[in-house]
Amino acid sequence: MTRDPRLLVQPAPFLRPTVSTPRIMLDVLVALLPSIGVAVWLFGLSALLVLAAATAGCVATEWLLARGARGASLGDWTAVLTGVLLGLTLPPSFPLWMAALGGFVAIALGKLAWGGLGQNLFNPALVGRAFLQAAFPIAITTWVPPAGPLALYRGNFAWPFFAAPADAVTAATPLGRMKFLGEETPLGALLLGDVGGSLGETSALAALVGLAWLLLRRACDWRIPAAVLLAAGALAEAVHRLAPGRHPDALFTLLSGSLLFGTVFMATDPVTSPLAPRGAWIFGAGVGVLVVLIRFWGGLPEGVMYAILLMNAASPLIDRAIQPRAFGYGRPARAALGERAR
């Protein structure tokens, strides 16, 4: 039959999606701006340098190792996002070469080794951080007090295999104080971030502003932060009521450490969290409970990273067990359980 060469024949639908994956990633980057701003305000040039080093490590690794045309996958912004996220989980005086190495591990082992974007089991930024925690346990727990927008810490300029130049003053994080000294930090300081800690985690307020942006732009599943905060808050409060002297209350638990930062920016990573809405609730609740368990009874003052990584590992199982009930089937479809293991 006569075929009009001018006409394309493509299958329906003919309306295109109004959101794109790069736009979602950019929205997360925008949501990180308040946290970045606070980090620079408190930790100055060092904050910028650590972020730049981690991001450069990620972007360079993606550019070098990603399959296909070199650098093509940089267009989805995920390498930059991973770099910024990783940088924000590091201490302000962290050696720059370690930050860059962390970026390499995050992208190479955290993402590309799995087959690239969408295939990885664990959050790449947290894989990078877990590596750094294992490789450089001292550097990653060396905290400095905020020193203002022009601050530059000597620790940043350490070189491999040489003793790190020590900064004159070190400071404990609010969680460290709580765990090892039994001291509380005022809530106002926790909100604004004027405390020791990783670059992005000190200000709870900045993370909350980021969350508001993500929700406004529908760039994350609201159920995950809701579930984490509800579960962590409820469990902490319950334990606090039982043993008020030994464990902090819900508010301190939620505002301290990287709970809010990790919840808003890492637990919500769609790739490494469950797909179905009910799965998101289970995942979030799991993160919240694990954070409190590790913080209260584990050996470390902070447990957000491991809580999220553990739940990342569980998320395919949750996905498999929780399939949506198809329309017109009286009870939940259980067919998924019969699927052969891949």
Partner: protein, 445 residues
């Protein structure tokens, strides 16, 4: 608060261009091509031969079996050929080609003055036969012969009739204009069907972006017992039968079952006016309202077009296509069919003709699935499109059955919602085709 179903998507309406334009009649053209197959079921059997003179509304092909329907001459003229002709489906399909009589005033026989047919005087069988004789099909796009829905299996009853005025597809306004301009006939058609089937309640389901249609139907149903207009939230695919039943009554039609199984019948508003036309004016279905719109159309319109009119002629009547047009779609932009040629006719199921330019036709950049779950929250059938698409791409079709691939209604909400630009619905469509073929092969051997 207006009702709706669960999940679904909110594409921009794009109805501004035509929603206020009155229906105008498409002028008659020189040639008409009436495909024998323009409905679900067996192709109609021609009862005329080449050379025969026909009058407008005369039967030219009769139903070949129960799931089939009648075709009528759209114009006074002469049959010039019965041969394979280009069909909107992209294939060549046997069609009756008619040359219009250029001197005919193209009136219906008796100028529409034939005595009305009283549906109450008919037996159930006769009523079903009359509807088949009128050539009625579902006019929302699927073109399922209407009379089939009216023959109820022994012992079954229809308690509720829903007249579908959702028109949830963007761009389309043909049903909207019918409701505004022919509200009385919409209600009259519904009244005929409701009385014949003995339904307890008739509901007109209309989305709230059509306030004038809701008002018109409310006026037309004023004072009538057992008839009400139900405003619905604006959401796609609300016009899908099962979604509409869920929206209006909160009932879920079980998988693999029909609306009949929950005692509901759904008919499109255009089908209702066609019922009124047949019984009150003795006019068969030979023309329908088509919305011509989209960025590639110079003069968007709502046209009353005789079935068989070439798409090219319709588009030319609307000022022709813009130079930039790259894609012409028959039906809505979510579930319509792409046309490979403009030399195909308007058929009974043609609700719209849309022209899109390069900007709309360009496929989105594809990324890998980031498991964001937008498709899961879009799917009105509560499936897991992300997983179905992944299995589909891997060719693991058998496994897709366990995820209810066959329950997919192919509404396209998943593809529309996907930020990674994955053609999810197409992957599922291909798998369904392959699975159906395989099932058919196994049946034979």
């Amino acid at each position: 608060m207006s009702r709706t179903f669960r999940h679904g998507v909110h594409p921009a309406g794009h109805k501004e261009a035509t929603e206020r334009l009155p229906i105008e009649r498409m002028p008659f053209v020189a040639r008409y091509t009436v495909p024998l197959s323009q409905h679900t079921g067996a192709p109609a059997r021609p009862v005329v031969a080449a050379g025969r003179r026909v009058t407008r509304g005369e039967t030219i092909a009769e139903a070949a079996g129960f799931v089939s329907t009648t075709l009528h001459a759209p114009v006074d003229g002469r049959v010039v050929a019965i041969a394979p002709r280009p069909h909107p489906s992209g294939r060549l399909v046997e069609a009756i080609e008619i040359e219009a009589d250029p001197y005919s005033p193209q009136r219906f026989p008796g100028n529409g003055a034939s005595a009305p047919l009283d549906p109450a005087a008919l037996s159930d069988e006769q009523f079903v036969a009359e509807v088949q004789r009128a050539g009625l099909v579902g006019m929302g796009g699927a073109a399922f012969p209407t009379h089939v829905k009216y023959r109820l299996p022994e012992g079954r009853r229809i308690e509720r009739l829903i007249v579908n005025g959702c028109e949830c597809e963007p761009y389309l306004t043909s049903d909207h204009r019918l409701m505004v301009e022919r509200a009385a006939d919409v209600v009259r058609g519904a009244e005929i069907v409701a009385a014949r089937l003995g339904v307890e309640e008739t509901v007109f389901g209309v989305e709230i972006n059509k306030a004038d249609a809701i008002a018109a139907l409310e006026r037309a149903t004023a004072g009538r017992q057992r008839m009400r207009v139900v405003p619905l939230e604006v959401k796609y695919p609300q016009g899908a039968e099962k979604m509409l039943i869920r929206a209006v009554y909160g009932l879920e039609v079980p998988s693999g079952k029909l609306p009949l199984d929950v005692g509901v019948l759904v008919n499109n508003v255009a089908t209702m006016t066609a019922i009124a036309d047949w019984f009150d004016r003795r006019r068969p279905l030979v023309e329908r309202v088509v919305t011509v719109a989209g960025p590639g159309v110079r003069r968007p319109s709502n046209l009353l077009v005789p079935v068989g009119t070439p798409v090219r002629a319709v588009l030319e009547h609307c000022g022709g296509l813009d130079e930039s047009t790259r894609e012409v779609v028959m039906g809505g932009p979510m579930m319509g069919a792409p046309l490979a040629s403009l030399d195909v006719p308007v058929v009974k199921g043609t609700s719209g003709l849309l022209a899109f330019t390069e900007a709309e036709a360009r496929l989105p950049t594809e990324y890998t699935c980031i498991k964001c779950g937008r498709c899961v929250e879009a799917c009105p059938q509560f499936l897991n499109p992300s997983r179905l698409g992944r299995l589909g791409r891997a060719g693991r079709w058998e496994e897709m059955l366990a995820y209810h691939a066959m329950d997919c209604v192919e509404c396209g909400s998943c593809s529309f919602a996907c930020p990674s630009g994955i053609p999810i619905v197409q992957l599922i469509r291909v798998a369904k085709g392959a699975l159906r073929e395989k099932a058919a092969r196994e049946k034979v051997s």
